[in-house]
């Protein structure tokens, strides 16, 4: 069933795939194009992945850090030493 969708997916490396275009089929600007285009003017950082991660999607990364922190807390709570009663 999964394989039946393959002919409808964009072929590998297609520059005109909807993810890579300047505007989406509905006419709104696409994020990936904007990030590469304006990343340096906005943050003076050459690595576009760092700009997306730390600046444009900083809230995403903050949530992710909190998830990792919560996972550590859960691990501590699950495996913490039980007091001998």
């Amino acid at each position: 069933m999964l394989c039946s969708v393959i002919p409808h997916l964009p072929v590998r490396g297609d520059v005109d795939a909807p993810l890579h275009r300047k505007t989406s089929p509905a006419g709104s600007p696409v994020a990936g194009y904007y990030y590469v285009k304006n990343g340096y003017e906005d943050a003076h950082t050459l690595n576009a992945v760092t700009v997306v991660l730390g600046d444009y999607r900083g809230f995403d990364t903050l949530g992710e850090t909190i998830v990792v922190f919560t996972a550590g807390a859960a691990c501590l709570l699950i495996l913490g030493r039980r007091r001998k009663s």
């Binding site: 394989c3 590998r12 194009y33 590469v36 340096y40 050459l46 992945v49 991660l53 995403d60 998830v67």
Partner: protein, 123 residues
């Protein structure tokens, strides 16, 4: 056939890994094997996203200092890379929590086999 493999073969591989991970998660009785299935599933999803970011003749999304932002088609899409970077770290954390839960279950019931565990819980 060769054209199809070149164009969409990577999708076939990703879907194969997804099905493999689902099989491990659903049908294996050992809980450690279920966690291994979950990591395979994660790897498949990550590969699928990175595959979507790829462009023909494009380079890594580290901009060139000479002509900055002039031609976005020369760089692969940075957005899926950033998303998957967070997904990998979250995946490691979830595997850690899963393993610690498993250790706790093993200490409590002495088994990590699904059916033995269910029998143990009924009795």
């Amino acid at each position: 056939m060769t054209d199809f493999l070149q164009a969409s073969g990577a999708y076939v591989m990703c879907f194969f890994l997804i099905v493999l991970g689902l099989y491990g998660m659903i049908l294996k009785r050992n809980y450690v094997k279920k966690i291994i299935g979950m990591t395979i599933f994660q790897a498949a999803i990550i590969l699928l996203f990175i595959l979507a970011a790829y462009k023909e003749d494009a380079t890594v999304p580290v901009l060139d200092k000479v002509n900055i932002g002039s031609d976005p088609d020369a760089y692969v899409n940075p957005l899926p890379h950033a998303l998957m970077l967070t997904a990998i770290v979250v995946g490691v954390a979830t595997v850690g929590v899963g393993l610690s839960l498993l250790i706790r279950v093993y200490k409590g019931y002495g088994t990590i086999d699904e059916e033995d565990l269910l029998k143990e819980m009924e009795s």
